[in-house]
Amino acid sequence: MDTVSVLLLAAFVIGYLVLAGADVGLGLLMPRVARTPDQRRGALAAIAPYFLASEVWLVAALGVLAGLFPSLEHHVVAHLWPALAALALALLVRDAGLWMWRRVPSARWRALWEGAVIAGSWGSAVCWGLVVAGLLTGSLWSGVFTPLCAAAVVVLFALRGASFGADRLVAEDGGRAADACGELTRTLSRWALAAVGLAAVAALLPGGPRTEGSVAAGAALLLLLGSLAVTAGVHGPMLSRVTSALAIAVPGVLVALVADLPVAPVPATTGILVWANLAPFVPVMFLGQVWLYRMTRRSAGAETFFA
């Protein structure tokens, strides 16, 4: 039961990075790729159905952390309190932007909440970068590694967002925003290569993450660099759908492999209570997710509740 519980936690965290990476990432790129009001509406229309289904992965991860791994939670909170509090605030601002944007048809109102979405997306990406760095090193700040690692994570978010935008923004403005995103996948892949490379070098400096026994971590890092290299040369977004997903998943995998996390065995009775109640819901959770992502694959032409 311990193994499945650990896998469950890992699945929620990595699932969050891969899925929410797309909509948070597009939020990062909005100032660049969504310049006209129509393009901004298009971007928000692409983000909205996605964030409803992706954010819950984070909430679920937090739940599992608190209920099945309280000592791990205690460890994480004790070390990363400020970054996590800032993350909470960024999420609040971002979500507020998404829920509020469409409510009042006035240019100023919309500009305000577009700003909230953009600021909140940047805040979340940066805070995730800090959290990943903090988990890898065991402290909130450890020399140059921290900013470099955080920067790498932010670029990976942006890359994921660019590939998502290239896929989803096609209908809105004859494809100009989508093309801009397509272009960006190549540029961002290069940036990401550079940032990840630098962070990997900085990791060897004192204060960086523990490196012993990390063959698997090395392999994960190679996978990351490889998947970035593929799209760094190719013009356009074709493969980036897969490679950007792989790339953003790797920081999660690295944390699982490298970080020195206190994972205590789950007491049997709690494990049984949780799994007995959870098991029947797994198919429903799965069905809902697949259904929603498939249904909204093409963004609605007409206005919906969100955009």
Partner: protein, 414 residues
């Protein structure tokens, strides 16, 4: 005051939770009404009823947005500010919350997305099914939260292993009267609140003689029926909760000795928390008494057409939702402050549960979250009132007709 992290953390929890609950209660109150309306509309192929679904559904979504925002913050704040609680009671208190996040929130948010984006993309029964899932998970979410909250009030079914509480009896956890009775009370209180909101919005429009699709005629009748029945159920569950008030929890003695714990409770009685608790109690009961008379009065004017036409009767109806809102928040203040000095009765004090944090950090986080919350809550309330007044032809989910396109978007005519 800003120097005391414990006080700030408590105050922050109280403010966030009260905000969260005011929106959640309306979610719980509206969902079943929307579900049944959509069921009837689907069965009969009734377009007018479907317009009502879109109208109430629009309010539901605006309100839900704030529920999610505040819920997220609740979740994170519980983890961030109350780490002592998780350290000792993670396996008992937080396990139900974990189940809530996975089996309730996860499913709820996804299916709500399907419902929002599925209006024109799926069959009507599939669409109805999505809202059924949304309603069911909203209630199961309330259930799991109250299992965990009931555990704080009356901890059961665990043993202490090396400073951690390990669950021994999941049955006792799920059958805890402090959870089961609270669930009954909270759910019926929320129905009362939903009914009065529906009644008030309906009264507003009926006063103006504006009811194109019968939305408000049906709304106010529903309100009248519920107001006749529901207060009795609310008081039933509420009164039953007193049954576990004066006995120590069954697990008392596992950490502090029972005498010692009683003495600590005695020492904390009085003070501000005690006064708040008493005020909360009295206010809740007072509000209930006022509401109790509404049902019979509505039933009395119904046969004379008063529910549709008597302005002097309908106009005051518009402000009545204040009562269940005040009652709900007071009820929670009563319950939560009554627990002082304990987070987990007889086992863990608030002082030991709070995360040790620098006073400055606590003050910054408190001010930022409180300010953001106040602003967002106020905007949401403003939007809710705005959309309620607009009526079924406009609003966030209303079917779009060409001539009502939004003025801000330029349109070309050839």
């Amino acid at each position: 005051m800003l120097e005391d992290p414990l006080l700030l953390a408590r105050l922050q929890f109280a403010l966030t939770a009260a905000t969260h609950y005011t929106f959640v209660a309306l979610t719980l109150g509206l969902a079943p009404y929307i579900l049944v309306t959509q069921l009837v509309a689907t069965l009969r192929g009734d377009r007018d009823r479907m317009r009502s679904v879109r109208f109430w559904g629009g309010l539901y979504l605006v309100n839900y947005g704030m529920g999610v925002l505040s819920g997220l913050v609740m979740e994170l704040q519980l983890a961030l500010n109350w780490s002592g609680l998780h350290e000792m009671f993670g396996y008992t208190f937080a396990a139900p919350l974990a189940l809530e996040t996975m089996t309730a929130f996860f499913v709820e948010s996804t299916f709500l997305g399907l419902w929002i984006f599925g209006w024109d993309r799926m069959g009507r029964w599939a669409h109805l099914f999505c809202f059924f899932v949304v309603t069911a998970t909203a209630y199961s979410s309330a259930w799991w939260v109250l299992v965990s909250n009931g555990f704080l009030r009356r901890p059961v079914g665990f043993e202490m292993v090396g400073g951690e509480a390990h669950l021994t009896d999941p049955g006792a956890l799920l059958a805890n009267p402090a959870s089961v009775l609270a669930f009954g009370h909270v759910v019926t209180g929320a129905m009362l609140l939903g009914a009065l909101v529906i009644g008030a919005v309906s009264a507003y429009h009926l006063c103006r003689g504006h009811d194109p699709y019968g939305t408000f005629r049906r709304g106010i009748r529903f309100c009248a029926v519920l107001m006749c029945v529901m207060p009795m159920v609310v008081v039933g569950f509420g009164g039953a909760q007193f049954s576990y008030f004066d006995t120590p929890p069954p697990t008392s003695g596992l950490t502090y000795g029972t005498e010692e714990a009683e003495a600590m409770t005695e020492a904390a009685v009085g003070g501000l928390a005690g006064a708040m608790s008493r005020t909360g109690h009295v206010t809740m009961v007072l509000m209930w008494t006022l509401m109790f008379f509404m049902g019979p009065v509505m039933a009395l004017v119904w046969p004379f057409g008063g529910l549709d036409r008597w302005r002097w009767f309908l106009a005051p109806m518009v402000v009545t939702p204040v009562m269940p809102y005040v009652a709900s928040v007071s009820g929670w203040v009563f319950r939560e402050t009554d627990r002082q000095p304990w987070v987990v009765t007889h086992h863990l004090t608030t002082a030991d549960a709070v995360t040790p944090m620098p006073a400055g950090a606590a003050a910054v986080s408190f001010s930022l979250f409180t300010a953001a919350f106040f602003a967002l809550g106020a905007v949401t309330v403003w939007l809710l009132v705005r959309f309620a007044r607009m009526g079924p032809d406009r609003g966030p989910l209303a079917e779009r007709r060409p001539e009502q396109d939004e003025p801000a978007r330029p349109r070309f005519t050839y």
